[in-house]
């Protein structure tokens, strides 16, 4: 684990570079929503590239950003010269993910439907579910939610999901801190200038 402050500095550096590269300051005609999207995307990508593409979540974040068509150009602009190396790192993810996603959806649907039927039968026959299975179901539900929250989490097993969540939380926290600092700094500047 790196030092938090050096991490934040690197993040801020990358973020601002990304904002520069996507021509943030030149386009004065951007609407607020566009600007917000650019800021958020650049912040996310800066966070991912600060992680250097070594973890699943950062690779998935970059892959997700460049998969979406409207974001693709923006993402490439933001990533700039690093995009090649990072893309290379993350390029192993998307095709595998896509094919697996389609295949696994079918299987999932089939298995889910049969499972539901089975569960219903079970519930009808024995109305009392054991506490153990209830707890397991609760945990599974929450795990699925967590998987949807962490980028690239759908394709992780439990152990790596928790590890990635740890890492992701640390970086999110750094991101939030830096963004809050910048936001309050701009507020101060506004107050001073007014």
């Amino acid at each position: 684990m790196r030092h938090p402050s050096s991490l934040k500095q690197e993040f801020l550096k990358k973020w601002i570079m990304g904002l520069q590269r996507c021509g943030f300051s030149s386009k004065k005609s951007m609407s607020v929503m566009e600007r917000k999207k650019a800021i958020k995307l650049s912040a996310d990508l800066a966070m991912a590239s600060t992680r250097n593409g070594t973890t699943c979540w950062s690779r998935a974040l970059i892959a997700n950003a460049s998969r979406n068509h409207e974001n693709k150009i923006l993402a490439e602009q933001i990533l700039g010269p690093e995009s090649q190396s990072l893309k290379k790192a993350s390029s192993t993810m998307p095709p595998v993910i896509c094919s697996r996603r389609i295949r696994s959806k079918k299987i999932l649907k089939r298995s889910c439907s049969s499972h539901v039927r089975r569960v219903r039968k079970f519930a009808l026959s024995q109305k009392v579910l054991s506490a153990n299975s209830v707890a397991k179901r609760l945990v599974r539900k929450r795990t699925n939610i967590l998987k949807s929250l962490v980028p690239g989490g759908e394709y992780m097993d439990d152990i790596s999901l928790i590890e990635e969540t740890l890492d992701y939380i640390a970086y999110l926290r750094a991101q939030v801190d830096v963004m809050r600092c910048v936001a309050s700094a701009t507020e101060v500047v506004d107050r001073n200038s007014d």
Binding site: M1, H3, P4, S5, K8, Q9, L12, K13, I16, Q20, F24, S25, K28, V32, M33, R35, K36, A38, I39, K40, A43, D44, A135, L138, V139, R142, T143, I145, L146, L149, V150, D158, I159, I162, E163, T165, L166, D167, Y168, I169, A170, L172, Q175, V176, D177, V178, M179, R180, C181, V182, A183, S184, A185, T186, E187, V188, V189, D190, N192, S193
Partner: protein, 437 residues
Amino acid sequence: MNRGYIQEEMLHCTDMTVLERQRARMKWHEDQLQQGYFGGSGEFCGGGGVFQGHEGHHQVQNFQGLVGTGGGDLVLGEVVSQSVKVVDPAGLKNRWAELGRLELTDMGFESCGLVNGTSSEFEMTAGAISTTSSCPPKVVVAAAAEQKGKVSVPVGKESSKKRKADKVQHTQVVVEDEPKDKRSKLCAEDGESKITGQTSTKNTTANNNNNNRESSSDTSKENSKASEVQKPDYIHVRARRGQATDSHSLAERVRREKISERMKYLQDLVPGCNKITGKAGMLDEIINYVQSLQRQVEFLSMKLAAVNPRLDFNIEDFFGKEMFPACSTSFPTIGMSSEMTNPAYLQFNPAQVVACCGLEMGINSSDMALRRTISAPVSIPETYIDTPCFTQPPPSSTWDADLQNLLNLEFHQGRSTSFPSQPFTGSIEASNLKMEM
């Protein structure tokens, strides 16, 4: 000779970690709350991070022993006390007491070693660690017993007495052959009684010297035998009575342990997750936290977007100017003071503002510019330069160490209000307010 000692110690350390693993595992089964989280070293290193921390800690102790022989006697005491301080807030709750005892015993031994002032300090520390970790001493003990013959008489007397006391207790532990979890508790008691034994042996006369030596060698032999008998038990995965032993369930158990270990780390990282037991509740808390962080990012980017028309990020303009040569000296501490902008400290608005500016200045000096081109762009940096803080490196250098410590702790504590951080934050706020003046 030195190298031999170091190797022995290393051997011992690795051995010890296996044992530690055993003990910790027992404790997991026994009570989830008794798990300790050692943040000292590996916070995020995947595998047995807990044990790595432990091992690292003990190695550090060993190292201190080695360094102490070089000369700085006072330094040793300080370092030990520092290590106590560092480990102290690292999120240990129940394990803390035990560890504190461990360290106390270590300290005691080291101080005795200082009294001796000879090469026997090596064994002293090694022995201390071996005994406190409830590891039956094997190679090191034998070597130490041999070594004691060579050392001058008073030294040999003292140390062998201590050793004897330890060994007697160890053999008691081994012979009684109690269940493992009890044993781990016993070892803590062991550590305590060792201190008392130590102090008492200082007062005794030289008459019992030879007897002590003989008995100590005897007990060491017994110990080594016992450890040989016990050794096959120490495998990575083991099933307790009544548990399935086929490979699948063993693997499943390992997996579950891994998950619970990482959940433990998460629990320490996510604020307000400490009191929750049960995986579902913990996951709930984690989900909430991640969601809140993501929402904060959304909100902040929205806020920045709304503020932004007048905000301009401009690099090339800045590189030609080189405005803040003086800031680079005080940069690291100020940069770190931005760490204090936790939500807990948000109510201290002036402090936070200064911290933010500190961050900005830090980035300025590290050849990155976040510069605002507004109606009066030059006035802001000037006001900051006028503040006395930036021209006074000495006070900032004194904060440096504190902040380093604080930042090391930051991750473990999360945002939970914790006692050691309070004085530091207080000082930082005060200094920030000074900066404002």
